[in-house]
Amino acid sequence: MPLNIRTYHELTEPDRSGLPGQIATQRRRVAERLAGVGRVVAAMSGKGGVGKSFATAGLARAMARGGRAAGVLDADFNGPTIPALLHLPVAGCTLRENAIEPAVSAEGVRCFSMGLLLQDGRPLGFRGPQAESHVWRETLEAATLREFLADVAWGALDRLLVDLPPGIQRFQELVDLLPTPPAVVTVTIPTAESGAAVRRAMQFARECGAELLGVVENMVDGAFTGRAGEELASEFGVPLLARIPWHPTPDVWEGVAGRL
């Protein structure tokens, strides 16, 4: 006798799990939390070692010095450096009104980072089956990004800078989570090799519907040669926001911060 198997779309009763509803609630929580943020700006390069975090921290500090409310979400969960770059003290995170209070630097930059949560010197470890952990680990990191956006009391900010790790995966997750794609400031070093990697990232960001605010060329007066910043800016029709020397003075960042 054949089994009378009913399939997913033949279910006639409400789905108590309500997984689409749970996802929608998560997205709504992100949107509500960021309602007071003037603009989310992702610092992106597509590759490592160009100074994204250094630039992000410099820009946020310059914004704060200029009287603008700035925050930094350190989305590099496996190599968080923003707390050190903002000179944040190590302190416990406080829960208030169903949200986590961000750390605040002496200059007034609000920040949240995995670096505030992890034991010194320990890598980010997750509970779960370790064999084939690549299957779930990126999903868990995407959930971490969602919670950093939705569960931190960012408050009213003129700009929330998101310091992305190398690659484009975290940017894709950010696009998926936000109501509208973030604006993007791109960081490169002068070399052609960097330019080639950053070009792919900029193209990806544009295909995702993100506004490209411009290019910051970092480490320009050292051993690196090339004109990647200028070339990328020209190619994408965006401004070359600054050419940053190895030891930039605060006014260098202030010049860029005012354009974001």
């Binding site: 416990g92 208030r96 505030l116 992890l118 320990r122 470890g125 779960g128 779930w136 919670e147």
Partner: protein, 140 residues
């Protein structure tokens, strides 16, 4: 099919039962640790959830290398349910003490909310087991 019951035996697997209200036929859903982990990584719960999301719930529940003093939960950990503040039996306190400090404040609040919502005056290991199963608190 209506969701009927969910069990989390604590070994990373999940079992859920669904029943057709018209014909009474029941079906079971079993997920292995990898499948359970993937769903949990999305921050959603099979069978739905009856409690409000806790701040950084997934991070606090899943990160294993967090600092013991990363969170200062303060008075929030007493919970905000409807009933009186529940007492904790010595056995329940002992069990709670084994929870890493990184997540302990959040776990304590969830159990306290569960008890207050149900008018339970004392939290015991049995209450914790029930809450764990009903709320889908794998590993808590």
């Amino acid at each position: 099919m209506l969701f009927e019951e969910r069990q989390l035996p604590g070994d990373g697997t999940l079992a859920a039962a669904f029943r057709c209200p018209q014909c009474g036929r029941a079906v079971g859903l079993l997920t292995n640790p990898m499948e359970t982990q993937l769903v949990a990584s999305l921050g959603v719960k099979i069978g739905g959830t009856t409690i409000d999301p806790q701040p950084l719930e997934t991070v606090r529940g899943m990160v294993t290398t967090g600092r013991e003093d990363a969170f200062e939960d303060g008075e929030e950990e007493t919970g905000k349910g409807k009933g009186p503040i529940p007492a904790w039996s010595p056995e329940a306190q002992e069990r709670l003490a084994r929870v890493p400090n990184f997540v302990r404040g959040m776990v304590k609040k969830i159990y306290a909310d569960y008890a207050r919502d149900r008018g339970i005056g004392e939290i015991t290991p049995a209450v914790m087991d029930n809450a764990r199963s009903e709320l889908g608190l794998e590993g808590m």
